[in-house]
């Protein structure tokens, strides 16, 4: 496959792995932020190539994993209303709220559809004027511009609305760094988020927390090269933003996508599953777009932030314990019956470990 296979080439990857082993004088703790990167790391068995030269911990960058139960409960409620079609991305269907997941809402008779894009939901609204179509809009700055563009294309529709649960990556990285017990010494930043937002926005994080931030791609050679860049900085005591993913990321990102977001959303405080409330880390519909807010349209209020239970998602997400360090991992908590969101999505740290890491 062109433009992909080059970055999966074995000798290239082995070369980077060797460089990392040679450069690292101690096992630096590096967090890859994006769930897609976690997926690649485990799918290709990258820790096995690094031989303990670095410790990789899986960050909070799985969009469905961090969506809090209160929003899922709201989506479950909306899905149960007569005449409503609730649209969701595929892997959101199995994430538990406090009253089940969207898959079981469908089994109970709710009209829940899996879509690949918010535009599919707009199309559904156009073709079903007698129904109210609601997009459960989750994800980072990667999916938020598509939600914004879909809303702009749906201005004439009075049967389309969204449950807006988009979140921003940078505030979460800051939250991780300021947490007690945080062991992160360097970041691999999420390349696709940076494609939209640009890498300039990380300068303050690198400076204030004295932590190298490497904007990284998603193929094994990308990730290994980025780890090498990070280890080199750590070994030389520097802490700046570096861009490994140059084929996609520029300093200022994608101005058109950012403008779409600015037109439709406002920044707000947001609860993250496992991390709690993070100031200015979420996107809500701005006041001009209030009438497209499904929560408002259907009179849904958000429940209280989740109460404490046994799931250790939070400690896993900040890298305090590995997924296998949780007593429920693979026992009470599996992809078929997940206790917490990181076990649900294939990008979730626990599910990725379960699929690719167990027994090896």
């Amino acid at each position: 496959m062109k433009f992909v296979d080059e970055y999966r080439e074995a000798s290239l990857c082995k070369g980077y792995a060797e460089e990392i082993r040679r450069t690292a004088t101690r096992p630096w703790t590096i967090m890859e932020v994006c769930g897609g990167q976690t997926h690649t790391i485990l799918r290709y068995g990258l820790p096995g190539m690094l031989n303990g030269a670095v410790e990789l911990i899986h960050g909070p960058g799985c969009p469905v994993c961090v969506t809090p139960p209160s929003f899922i409960d709201a989506a479950l409620h909306v899905a149960s209303l007569p005449g409503v079609i609730l649209c969701s991305f595929g892997d959101m269907l199995r994430v538990p709220g406090s009253g089940g997941d969207l898959n079981s809402a469908r089994a109970r008779g709710g009209n829940v559809r899996m879509v690949y894009s918010p535009f599919d939901a707009v199309e559904l609204a156009r073709n079903n004027p007698e129904s109210q179509v609601v997009m459960f809009a989750v994800g980072f700055e990667t999916t938020a511009p598509a939600t914004a563009a879909a809303l702009l294309s749906a201005r004439e529709l009075d049967n389309f609305s969204v449950i807006c649960c988009h979140v921003l990556v940078l505030p979460a990285m800051e939250a991780v760094m300021s947490m007690k017990g945080c062991r992160v010494k360097g970041f691999l930043a999420a390349g696709h988020v940076c494609t939209v937002m640009g890498w300039n926005q990380y300068s303050a994080l690198a400076r204030d927390y004295r932590v190298p931030v490497i904007v990284a791609g998603f193929e094994p050679a990308d990730i290994l090269q980025a780890i090498h860049m990070c280890v080199s900085q750590l070994e030389s005591g520097s802490h700046r933003v570096e861009n490994q993913y140059t084929r996609s990321v520029s300093p200022d990102g994608n101005p058109a996508a950012r403008e779409l977001m600015d037109r439709v959303f406002s920044v707000t405080d947001r609860e993250w599953r496992g991390l709690g409330m993070i100031p200015r880390s979420g996107l809500r519909l701005s006041d001009d777009w209030r009438e497209y807010d499904a929560m408002r349209r259907f009179g849904v209020t958000l429940g209280e932030p989740a109460a404490a239970t046994e799931c250790m998602a939070g400690r896993v997400l900040i890298g305090e314990i590995p997924p296998t360090g949780c007593p429920h991992f693979g026992r009470g908590c599996t992809p078929e019956s997940p206790m917490g969101a990181p076990m649900v999505s294939s990008e979730g740290a626990c599910a990725a470990h379960y699929r690719y890491g167990r027994r090896t």
Binding site: N103, E336, G340, S346
Partner: protein, 339 residues
């Protein structure tokens, strides 16, 4: 810092129970087996092997077909309903002979669609050398079905000496696959409403009796065979690993995947190893028979791995980078990743 416990799974049937993964297995183990008991011989296989006096025995299998859309590139629900059952019989080492067909039709279905499906069934039966000998039809109210559901059962005559049950898998066996994987799943997905991928991938839907006979005629000592259906290669290998209590190592680079299938999986966030096939099978044979088997299976077949000589049960993947990881049993529905 925490997330709540979900309601325990299992109080309602979800789509994942039909996905061919762990939840399907659990449905069988928790609901069906306690009520019906295990089949004669005790082993779960593609069909039941039933002894008949003075005969090498018969194989008996059944399969229900629900597919959306009814027509897809390379086939339709009609041809699928025949070939799926033919293949289950072939994987039991039996010559497929007779098939029953049960139709559940939805009120309002166009007669021309029904005719097309039935003609396709007749055509598939003729090509597979089986006869449709009995059937039944029921009609349900509009809105209570997806146009057509077809349930087929098949009877085949076991070829003397053919025993493909997983228990025969032996350490050192070569693992082979009969062709490139994942086509059926992707071709059906790509033409489903809401996914506008312009692909030319055709389903791999095809009867496997010919290849099974070619292997027998070439004198290949087949230890085990299983067709790849829901859950794809990952599910078939895991089922065999579990049933035989063996471990195996699969070389990821050796698994044949068509470029278009690999590309579609990249875009959709799916794993080709979990994508369904309807005309492919895995084969376990002593290493010394591997070349003969490849020749008998023809173009596209590949040697993909080996059964380990170790007490560890499961399927391990040697990645393209030379590292090793577990190849898990798919858990249920294929859920595309969001980004």
């Amino acid at each position: 810092m925490n997330c709540p416990l979900p309601t325990p799974p299992g109080d309602t049937v979800t789509l994942a129970h039909g996905g061919g993964g762990r939840l399907t297995n659990r449905l069988i183990e928790d609901v069906m087996i306690p009520a019906f008991g295990r089949p004669p011989g005790g082993e779960q296989h593609d069909g039941a092997l039933l002894p008949i006096q003075g005969n090498s025995g018969i194989a008996f299998t059944t399969d229900c077909h629900v597919v959306d859309p009814l027509f897809f590139p390379g086939g339709d629900i009609g041809s699928l309903s025949i070939i799926g059952t033919v293949n289950d019989l072939a994987m039991c080492g039996a010559l497929p002979k007779w098939i029953s067909a049960g139709f559940i039709l939805e009120e309002g279905l166009s007669m021309s669609i029904l005719r097309r499906v039935v003609a396709s069934m007749a055509n598939a039966a003729a090509n597979s050398d089986v006869r449709i000998v009995t059937g039944d039809t029921k009609v349900v109210n509009r809105g209570k079905g997806d146009g057509i559901y077809i349930c087929t059962s098949g009877v085949g005559q076991v070829i003397p000496g053919m025993d493909f049950r997983p228990g025969r898998v032996t350490a050192g066996d070569a693992v082979l696959v009969s062709g490139d994987i994942g086509r059926h799943g992707i071709s059906v997905l790509a033409c489903r409403e809401g996914i506008s991928l312009e692909l030319t991938i055709e389903s791999d839907l095809a009867p496997l009796t010919g290849k099974m006979l070619a292997l027998a005629n070439a004198g290949v000592d087949v230890h085990c065979m299983r067709d790849l259906t829901r859950g794809g290669l990952a599910a078939a290998l895991n089922e065999i690993a579990t049933a035989s209590s063996k471990g195996m190592t699969i070389d990821e680079a050796a698994i044949p995947v068509a470029g278009e299938v690999a590309g579609a999986c990249e875009i959709l966030g799916l794993d080709p190893l979990q994508s369904a096939c309807e005309g492919r099978f895995v084969l376990f044979t002593p290493e010394g028979h591997a070349q003969k088997a490849l020749k008998a299976m023809g173009t596209g077949a590949a040697l993909i791995g080996v059964v380990d000589d170790s007490p560890e049960t499961g399927v391990f993947l040697r990645t393209t980078l030379g590292t090793k990881r577990v190849l898990e049993m798919p858990s249920g529905m294929l859920l595309p990743r969001i980004c």
